[in-house]
Amino acid sequence: MLALAKAIASLAIGWTLVALVTQVIAARGGGRRDYSRRAGAPWKGVLYSFTTGMTPAHKESVRLHPGKFALGLVMHVGVIVSIVGVVLLLVWPTGALRVLSFLRLVCAVALVGGIGLLFRRVLSSTMRAISSPDDYLAILATCGLLTCSSLFPMDARGQLVVLLYAGLLFVYLPLGKLRHAVFFFVARGDYARRLGYRGVYPPVRARTE
C-alpha cells in the first residue's frame, strides 16, 4: 500500500513539474527583446528585489502589515519544509522521518499561520470581496498538508496519509492559485530585471545604505 502511495505521489510531483514548466514557457511566449538603450544592470535589479527589496524598510506592504506578513511567512516556511519532507519520504525515507520529526514543530506553527490567514480571508469583508473559491481552496489545501506533516505520527499509516494527500495537492497545484509557487519567482524576477535595466532598481537609498 505504501509503495502504491509513493507511486501516486511521484506521478503527481512529475505532473506538477511538467505542468508548471509548460505554463512558464507558455507565459514567456518567446520572451521580449528590449530595444531601448540600457541605463542600468538587470542583475542588480533582480538581486535587490530578492534581498533588500523584501525587507520592511523597503517594502511598505510588509512595514504596514507586519502581523499578516508574518503569518504568511511562517506558513510558507512550513509548506516548504513539508514539501521537502514529502520528497525525502520518496527518495530517502529514514532521513525523511528524522527530518520531519525534528521539524514537526515548524509545521505546527505554520499551520497556525495558515489558519490565521484563512480566518483573515473569511472574516474581512474586503478580503471576501476579492476572493474566489480557489483562494479558499488553496489555503485549505495548504493547511491540510501542514496538518498531515505536523500532527500525524510518522508510522506507516501516517506516511500513507501524507503521501496520498501530497499526491492530491500536487495534482491541484498547477491548476489553481497555488501555481504562484513558481510564478512568484518568475514574475518578481521579470519585473526586477526590467526595472534594473532602466536604472530604477536598485533605488538610490539602497545604493547608498
Binding site: 469583508s125 504562484h180 521579470d190 532602466r198
Partner: protein, 432 residues
C-alpha cells in the same frame, strides 16, 4: 455597440484575441502570480482616498486576471466560478473600463510594494489594451489620441498658432536676454537637438517654453522645434492603443532624422519620457538611430560643464519637488532634477516619501482627459496635498506638465497656496 448577441459575441472574440496578444511579452507571468493577499491597498493613492474593495490594486488587477483565466487556463475554461474567471460580457467590459481607466493611473507604486513583487501596472495595461482593441477607451481620452493622430499634437493646435507663439516668444526673449540671437527656433535642419514639448506649453504655459529657449541660448545650444511633430506626449500609451503609440513614435523619430539632428531632447513630461525613451523602441521593434534624453539630463550636463551659470539667491523661496511616476518610478530619472534644484534654489526640501516611492499626484494615466473621473482624481490627490503641506514649500517643482495641471487643481482644492513650476523655469530664473 454591444447591443445585440452578435455584436456581443464579436466583441468578446476581439477582446480575447487582444488579450492573447497582450499576454505575449511576459505579462502572463504577472497574471499568474497575484495571490490576492490584500496588502497592496495603502500603496495606492486612490485606495487611500477611498478605501473600498474595488480600489484595491489587487482587485483592479483581478478584473483583468479573471478574463485571462477564462480564456487561458484549464480551470477557468471548465470551472470558471471556482477561479473567478469571467467572460467578456458587456457588463464585465463596463466594469473593466471603470477598473483600469477610472480607478488606476498605472503609477506602479503598488507593484513596487507588492508582497509578491508583481507588476500590477502591466496587468492594468493588458486590460487597457483589450478595451482599446474593442473601442471602449473613454471618449475624452480617445479624442486626445485622435487629435494626436490627425493633427500631430494632442491639443490640435494649428501650425500657424505654433509659429506665431514662437515668434512673440522670440521677441520677448530677445528683450529679456538683451540678445538678438535668443529665440525659439522652428524647423531648422542640421541643428544638434530636436526639442519636443508638451502642446500645453504652446497653448497655455508658453513661459515654460521661453524658459527652455532662454537656457538653451545661454548654454549656446544648437536646437530646433519641428512644426510638424513637436508633441512629447503619447496618449496612445495611456489608452493602451499600441498601434497609435507606435505611429506617434515613428513620426517623431522620422522627423528627427529628416531634420538631421543628433539627439532628441524631451521636455518635462513624465509619460512622454517613458513612452518615447523606454517603450518606443519596443513598439517600433528596433533600436533608435540617435539618443533620446530628458531635458533634465541636458540641464544637469550644462551645469556640470559650466555652460550655464546660476545664482540660487535668485530663487529664495522654499521649493519642493514632485516626482512624476513615469519619469522616476518607470523611467529611472530621479537624481538630475535634484542636483539641478540644489544648485538653482536657495531652500530645497524633499517630500516624504520621495523618488521611486513617491505617491502619484492623481493626474497620470490619462486621468486629466477623462472628465467622468474628475471627482475621484481630485480626491485621490489628498495624500499629495498632505505631502506638499508638510514641506512648508511655496513652490512645487515638477518635471511633468500633466502633474503640473493636477497639482494646480490640488493646490486650489486643498488650499495649499503653492506655485507650480517646471524645473527649467527655476533654472531660467536663476541664470546669471
Amino acid at each position: 455597440m454591444l447591443g445585440d448577441d452578435k455584436d456581443t459575441a464579436e466583441t468578446a472574440a476581439q477582446a480575447s484575441a487582444a488579450l492573447a496578444r497582450a499576454c505575449r511579452g511576459l505579462a502572463a507571468y504577472h497574471l499568474n502570480a497575484c495571490v490576492r493577499c490584500g496588502l497592496c491597498g495603502e500603496s495606492c493613492h486612490i485606495y487611500r482616498a477611498e478605501p473600498t474593495p474595488e480600489n484595491l490594486p489587487g482587485a483592479k488587477a483581478a478584473r483583468v486576471i479573471g478574463h485571462y483565466r477564462r480564456y487561458a487556463t484549464f480551470l477557468g475554461r471548465h470551472l470558471p466560478r471556482v477561479v473567478g474567471a469571467r467572460d467578456f460580457t458587456p457588463a464585465a467590459l463596463a466594469e473593466l473600463v471603470d477598473a483600469v481607466y477610472g480607478r488606476c493611473t498605472g503609477c506602479g507604486r503598488c507593484g513596487l510594494h507588492c508582497s509578491v513583487g508583481l507588476d500590477v501596472a502591466a496587468i492594468i495595461r493588458v486590460g487597457r489594451h483589450v478595451l482599446a482593441s474593442v473601442g471602449l477607451v473613454p471618449a475624452g481620452l480617445q479624442r486626445t489620441v485622435n487629435n494626436q493622430l490627425e493633427t500631430g499634437n494632442q491639443m490640435a493646435i494649428p501650425r500657424e498658432e505654433l509659429i506665431s507663439t514662437a515668434e512673440w516668444l522670440s521677441e520677448d526673449l530677445k528683450l529679456e536676454r538683451g540678445d538678438d540671437g535668443a529665440r525659439v527656433h522652428v524647423d531648422q535642419p542640421g541643428r544638434r537637438v530636436l526639442y519636443l514639448v508638451n502642446p500645453r506649453e504652446i497653448k497655455f504655459f508658453p513661459l515654460s517654453l521661453m524658459a527652455a529657449a532662454g537656457v538653451f541660448h545661454a548654454a549656446g545650444e544648437s536646437w530646433t522645434l519641428s512644426s510638424k511633430f513637436y508633441d512629447v506626449t503619447n496618449y496612445g500609451f495611456f489608452a493602451g492603443d499600441d498601434d497609435a503609440a507606435r505611429e506617434l513614435t515613428r513620426r517623431v523619430m522620422e522627423e528627427a532624422q529628416a531634420l538631421g539632428v543628433q539627439e532628441v531632447i524631451l521636455s518635462e513630461c513624465g509619460h512622454g519620457f517613458r513612452a518615447f525613451r523606454w517603450e518606443g523602441p519596443n513598439w517600433l521593434q528596433r533600436e533608435y538611430p540617435l539618443p533620446v534624453r530628458s531635458v533634465l539630463e541636458l540641464l544637469e550636463e550644462y551645469l556640470a560643464a559650466g555652460r550655464i551659470k546660476v545664482d540660487p539667491a535668485k530663487n529664495p523661496r522654499r521649493v519642493t519637488l514632485h516626482d512624476p511616476c513615469n519619469l522616476v518610478r518607470w523611467g529611472g530619472v530621479s537624481e538630475p532634477q535634484r542636483r539641478i534644484l540644489r544648485r538653482c534654489v536657495q531652500d530645497f526640501v524633499e517630500m516624504t516619501p520621495n523618488r521611486q516611492d513617491n505617491f502619484c499626484c492623481g493626474g497620470g494615466g490619462g486621468m486629466l482627459s477623462m472628465s467622468e473621473y474628475g471627482d475621484r482624481r481630485i480626491a485621490s490627490g489628498a495624500i499629495k496635498a498632505e505631502q506638499i503641506r508638510a514641506t512648508g514649500a511655496k513652490i512645487v517643482a515638477t518635471p511633468c506638465h500633466n502633474c503640473a495641471d493636477q497639482l494646480l487643481e490640488i493646490s486650489k482644492r486643498y488650499k495649499l497656496g503653492v506655485e507650480i513650476q517646471a524645473v527649467v523655469e527655476l533654472v531660467y530664473a536663476a541664470l546669471t
